[in-house]
Amino acid sequence: MSNLTYTRSDFQSDQEVRWCPGCGDYTVLASVQSFMTQMGVPRENIVVVSGIGCAARFPYYMNTYGFHTIHGRAPTIATGLATSRPDLSVWVVTGDGDALSIGGNHLIHALRRNVNIKILLFNNQIYGLTKGQYSPTSEVGKRTKSTPFGSIDFPFNPVSLAIGSEASFVARTLDMDRNHTQYVLGEAVNHTGSAFIEIYQNCNVFNDKAFIALTGRAERAVNRINLQEGKPVVFGGSGESCVVMEDGEARIKPTSSVDPDQILVHDPSRENPSVAFSISRLSHTPHGPTPLGVFRNISRPTYGSEMQQQIVDAQNRGPADLDALFGSAGTWEVT
């Protein structure tokens, strides 16, 4: 398969892309399309499954197999597809409402089962398609059409939730940063099993600049905590800040104030998710320093391969056929 030569246009369908001009979704689409030219999987073996929302329009624009399903249920449809067809590369595209509000249960179950699907959660901290209600990732106090006096519920931290749900691969990236997005996608594809990728995505119409702390020219250098496997976690324009584990939790310190040995060396492959979880707590809604990259990446059998294996094992124990089944409960003959 490595001799597949694709260009980005091979992954562009004939449908006109119809997000609002300036929407972060365009950039993610481009990143995914570019990435797939290199992925080494034939186009016909790729399926993109989505729920409902702006982001969920994604499959229409991909010249692969695609299924635009119903609100919140994409992980279930992808689960059936991936477990019945382990030969396919199955992707889920979802939004913060789709995945975390109506679809929260399917998400956490897909993650704990480690179904071999790659989940791209476009988190714009708003309901885009329904024109601007607050979502389970909106910050407290958010004023929207449905919360004119400010929202009163504490938001999820999607990375913490995924880790709490036993996810084997958890990452976060940013719409605007195509290189980082493609790096994270690469790690996700190399991981066997479910991969959860939160993508901060700007909705310039209903929630503009929600991620300005990470995208603003002035702010981004100070706030992006770039997680890199095997590297000490330092950040800031000149590495002036770092992360240490202290008193059982990840904390940000001036690099100059700590012994270099104390700086946390990032290891997403740790079986125990405690440190990954703790790193996820460095930010909640991302208004300050926020970790990006792969938080957790461990290996665990996938649900689909185990399902397949049980069939193979059973079949190895001897042949079976329909006639034998029909006779299996004992028969008698009437002549």
Binding site: G80, T83, N105, F326
Partner: protein
């Protein structure tokens, strides 16, 4: 299962108290005892030996609704009813002719069903003070004359069991074999061969030889108790039935549904994918399918019913024979996703094992109350085919048929069963796999449009189905979804005329299936005034009632529907050719509503919603009433 000759299917001639052998055409026996008393085992063994003997039969267990109620209490009673006959029957019988009551609680909860003069066998030693108190009896019914109207046989089962197993087991397990004493006695009373019971016991408990020995000793002790102490009693004889020749097995509706799905997957040459979330009374389908990985069956216990149907929609998109199953509350949850499958036009079988509603209702009781829900339980214009199983032995064929329609017409199909079919069992003539129909359909393999374009909504001229192009097929990459699609191209479309066209196409596709199913068959006296029309699990009782009346000279025709949507093409004509139509159903008149709406034909109803199946007598009485009206 229609009988070529008509017999009296209800009632049984009185067993004479001191005759020799009372020949019977059929008899209904109920085993009742505490959940821990092994009544299901005893009943099933009695069924097996009767089947081996050559009777036709139908069995129906009744489990307590409660979790596992304390021993000896009323909610803890479990029972098992079986009708055996020398001819082709399809019900578990109306009122039992013979009943075993292992304790006072079993007697109290079951006695009202025993017919007057019926044979009542009790474990007399269970009627001690504690046992009576638990059942809420003040005085022992064995003493106070309240059982005078029955033919009472008291057996000291505890003592008999203890003596029989004395040298084999000890301690608390001694009394465990009591059910074999009862079974042995019944084997004597009905002259059943012990051999099948012995063989089964030996193989079932092969790893526990002491248990085998104890049970068989108890079995023989019970049998011998009959021979020695009841010499003057008449014993019953039900001759072998003359069923169509063939190999038979005993099957419950739920097992048949699972096997039917496996058979359909074989006939369709597609792997089977079953996604489900446990719910009474559908769980056993999942359990049975989960065992057959050797046959390539994939089962997925989902986090809920929505995930279950979601997964099977995914599997269908991927090219599996995809099936989900549940009961009322769970089916409600699937409504939105069924609508997706319907507009995505993907094949799917949705099994609904109906139970008494609304809401949680009475989970272990049967009802036929989901017909209108099946037809109309989705938003928007969303027609789909609906089929209903009739008896356990009919399930395999109906299931294959549901799958055939789903695949050929690229549509979700609702397949109805109910608690009564699901847990009832009867002999099923086993087909040769090689004789089963081929229901396979080809996947799309090449572009069907100009310029090598693939058009996912370019319909087949005959079936109006769209092509099924599965991922992995090069050149057929395409996108589908729940938004309205442009005809032919499948692109999203808000065009008004297109929406009309697509709505009409989906409706027409389903309506047209009427040309691909058999016409409804009318039985009995075809030139009668009255047609009795049924669907689902009332088939056996309805048929029996009608055949009896025919034999008695009443002019009645009767018919039964497997296809509830679309209805058979000739149904309107059939209905209008009878002056009166009577529709017995376990609901408040749902098929009647459908018949009135479709054919402007009025019908009488026989409706009950008690969580119990019809009795033959009920249908008979109502027919007579309608005839006279």
């Amino acid at each position: 299962m229609t009988s070529p000759t008509a017999h009296a299917e209800a009632g049984v001639s009185d067993p004479s108290p001191n005759g020799d052998i009372t020949p019977l055409r059929q008899v209904t026996v109920r085993f009742a005892g505490d959940s821990g008393d092994g009544m299901q085992l005893a009943g099933n063994r009695f069924a097996d030996t009767s089947a081996a003997f050559g009777n036709d039969l139908f069995t129906l267990p009744d489990f307590p609704a409660e979790i596992r109620a304390p021993a000896g209490t009323l909610p803890g009673v479990s029972s098992f009813q079986i009708q055996i006959a020398d001819w082709d029957i399809s019900t578990s019988g109306d009122r039992p002719d013979c009943m075993v009551a292992m304790n006072p609680a079993a007697l109290k909860t079951n006695l009202m069903d025993l017919r007057q003069g019926g044979t009542l066998i009790v474990n007399s030693e269970a009627f001690d003070e504690r046992g009576l108190a638990k059942a809420g009896y003040e005085d022992s019914p064995l003493m106070d004359g309240s059982l005078n109207q029955y033919d009472l046989i008291e057996i000291p089962m505890n003592t008999i069991t203890k003596e029989a197993v004395a040298d084999k087991v000890s301690g608390r397990s001694v009394l465990r074999s009591r059910n074999f004493v009862a079974l042995g006695f019944l084997a004597w009373l009905f002259q059943r061969p012990l051999e099948p019971i012995i063989t089964w016991t030996e193989s079932k408990f092969a790893k526990l030889p002491m248990v085998v020995a104890a049970n068989l000793a108890a079995l023989r002790a019970g049998y011998n108790f009959g021979i020695t102490t009841e010499t003057s009693r008449s014993i019953f004889q039900v001759k072998p039935a003359s069923l169509p020749p063939g190999v038979y097995t005993s099957i419950t509706g739920n097992t048949a549904l699972a096997w039917g799905l496996i058979a359909a997957s074989y006939c369709a040459k597609l792997p089977l994918y079953y996604g489900s979330y446990p719910i009474t009374p559908a769980s056993d389908i999942l359990h049975e399918l989960a065992r057959h990985k050797r046959l390539g069956v994939r089962t997925f216990q989902a986090e809920d019913e929505i995930a279950a149907i979601g997964a099977v929609i995914g599997a269908s998109f991927g090219g599996s024979l995809a099936v989900t199953g549940s009961s009322g509350p769970g089916i409600s949850l699937k409504s939105e996703a069924i609508s997706l499958a319907l507009t995505a036009e993907l094949p799917l079988v949705v099994v609904n094992v109906q139970r008494a509603g609304p809401s949680t209702g009475m989970p272990t009781k049967p009802e036929q109350t989901d017909l209108l829900f099946s037809l109309f339980g989705r938003h928007g214009e969303s027609p789909l085919p609906v089929l209903a199983c009739a008896t356990p032995s009919d399930v395999v064929e109906t299931t294959i048929e549901a799958a055939r329609i789903a695949l050929k017409y690229m549509t979700p199909v609702i397949l109805l069963s109910d608690n009564h079919i699901a847990n009832g069992s009867e002999p099923w003539r086993v087909p040769d796999a090689a004789d089963l129909p081929d229901i396979s359909v080809p996947f799309a393999s090449a572009p069907n449009g100009a310029g090598g374009r693939f058009l996912p909504y370019l319909r087949d001229f005959n079936t109006f189905s769209r092509p099924w192009a599965i991922p992995g097929t090069k050149g057929l990459e395409h996108r589908i979804g729940g938004l309205e699609k442009e005809n032919i191209s499948g692109d999203i479309s808000y065009n008004p005329d297109n929406h009309q066209l697509m709505t009409d196409s989906r409706a027409w596709k389903v309506a047209n299936i009427a040309n691909d199913i058999p016409p409804v068959e009318v039985h009995g006296e075809l030139d009668a005034n009255l047609l009795v029309l049924g669907w689902g699990s009332s088939k056996g009782t309805m048929g029996a009632a009608c055949r009896n009346l025919n034999r008695e000279g009443y002019k009645i025709a009767y018919a039964h529907l497997r296809y509830l949507n679309p209805l058979p093409a000739n149904l309107g004509d059939v209905l209008h050719s009878y002056e009166k139509v009577l529709i017995p159903e376990l609901n408040t008149g749902q098929l009647r509503y459908v018949v009135r709406a479709n054919f402007l034909k009025d019908a009488f109803g026989l409706n009950k919603v008690t969580g119990t199946p019809f009795y033959i007598g009920e249908i008979r009485d109502r027919i007579l009433e309608v005839l006279e009206s």
